[in-house]
Symmetry: D2
Subunit: 139 residues, 4 copies
């Protein structure tokens, strides 16, 4: 798996002179979508199939500041998955030095077009199998 | 018409220590939606009726910087409207001093669910009448 | 204490048709700054004194979706404070119904201009006293 | 010059299901910074030298919508430059098809640490020379 690479943009900074902390949550999302695409699960396809995976919880520990122009790598992995609930963990590091900047976690469920919670195992069995395989790898 | 009031948020600042210029474009939108609601045209209702009004052009002249915590007033007015195309102009000023911070303009068309350009006069005649009335006031 | 009121903006939505989850983290910040102002601790004053309070950790549990135009109330409280580290918890609810939408927590330290961790008790004793008083209330 | 490449992120979409128009203004900035870096003028260096170049005006014509996952190329060029004022124009196109999505323009002045307008020719003559050279190319 290739880590998701991101260059901190000027508009992501705040008046403290660092990247605003809310952007890390967006980086998690970008890395998650990239990770799923690399798994062979393009997000667009899931949405076309009428399945969305809203964020249930998010957490982030900020260890080092990042600045405009820094290139970071975000490394997601499947922490837990049971067909109903998916937990992804993230590690953000400076690309150049490898220094850990932040880590965190998001958890998700799966909803159909009516907004009902669905079992991915039932509605998208192939996608389910992929998540299961990556859960094993994450162990 | 009450101007749209906004307090500059911390996350809107950038490392120059001022509100990032892209936020003024968002403020225009917020003021436009508020303006339409005051006209009796809630944006949600238009979208429910299957009509969206995407932005065709935007322009902004930045005259003064704004800082975290500043309260600004955004004053929109209908500059032109012909049933097909709507032009709204905006003036942003510091609430406390009245000093003009920026002014600008957005233009819009109206699209139906199929993404076709529609005449608001035909599809939403009541909304059309309201825009016409405000166009007169803007003169 | 007055809760911090916020109307969900159009630009805060995403293609799921709901407010993007990263915005809740920004709402926490806005509510925290408002809360501190109500306590008599304007954020600008702290920054002028050379003290910043970066976010060390953030967490959020999303319970209900919010939509464009919803008015929410964010209620912060001091969960823990020891002069070095500050933990604030948040509850977000729909204003109209009181329904809880999300809750979360942020923790902070205090840094001086050199980026060194400082004891607020030593550098800003009056601010320290206020946080201590609100910690008692939070119990 | 390599065009600035960008993949539209999920959080950049709005409930219309397209990239929110304010993001194009941010893309202009990212492309401008990349363009200057390719010219040999890293933005960080200018800021370290105490020179900032705030945006005076911005304009954008939106021709086609962009969607989550689209890859776009932003092509900036120096439209005008006289040592005091810089005008950059931008063209955004779909990478895959070359279709023009938007075009626009930003203008800038140069300020020193005291917030006074400066002539780049005087304060940063080497940077001035580079802008002059690119102005010729833009003709």
């Amino acid at each position: 798996m290739k880590p998701f690479e991101w260059k901190a943009q000027y508009y992501e900074t705040d008046q403290m002179g660092i990247v605003h902390h809310s952007n890390y949550i967006r980086w998690f999302e970008s890395a998650r979508i990239d990770f799923m695409a690399q798994m062979g699960i393009p997000y667009e396809k899931m949405e076309e199939a009428g399945i969305i995976s809203p964020v249930l919880t998010v957490s982030c520990q900020y260890r080092k500041m990042t600045h405009f122009g820094d290139t970071v790598e975000i490394v997601p992995s499947v922490k837990a998955y049971n067909g109903i609930r998916l937990v992804i963990s993230y590690m953000i590091r400076q690309k150049e030095t490898g220094e850990v900047i932040a880590d965190g976690e998001t958890s998700h469920c799966f909803l159909n077009r009516e907004g009902k919670i669905v079992s991915l195992k039932k509605v998208l069995p192939e996608t389910h199998a992929v998540f299961e395989a990556y859960t094993e790898k994450g162990k």
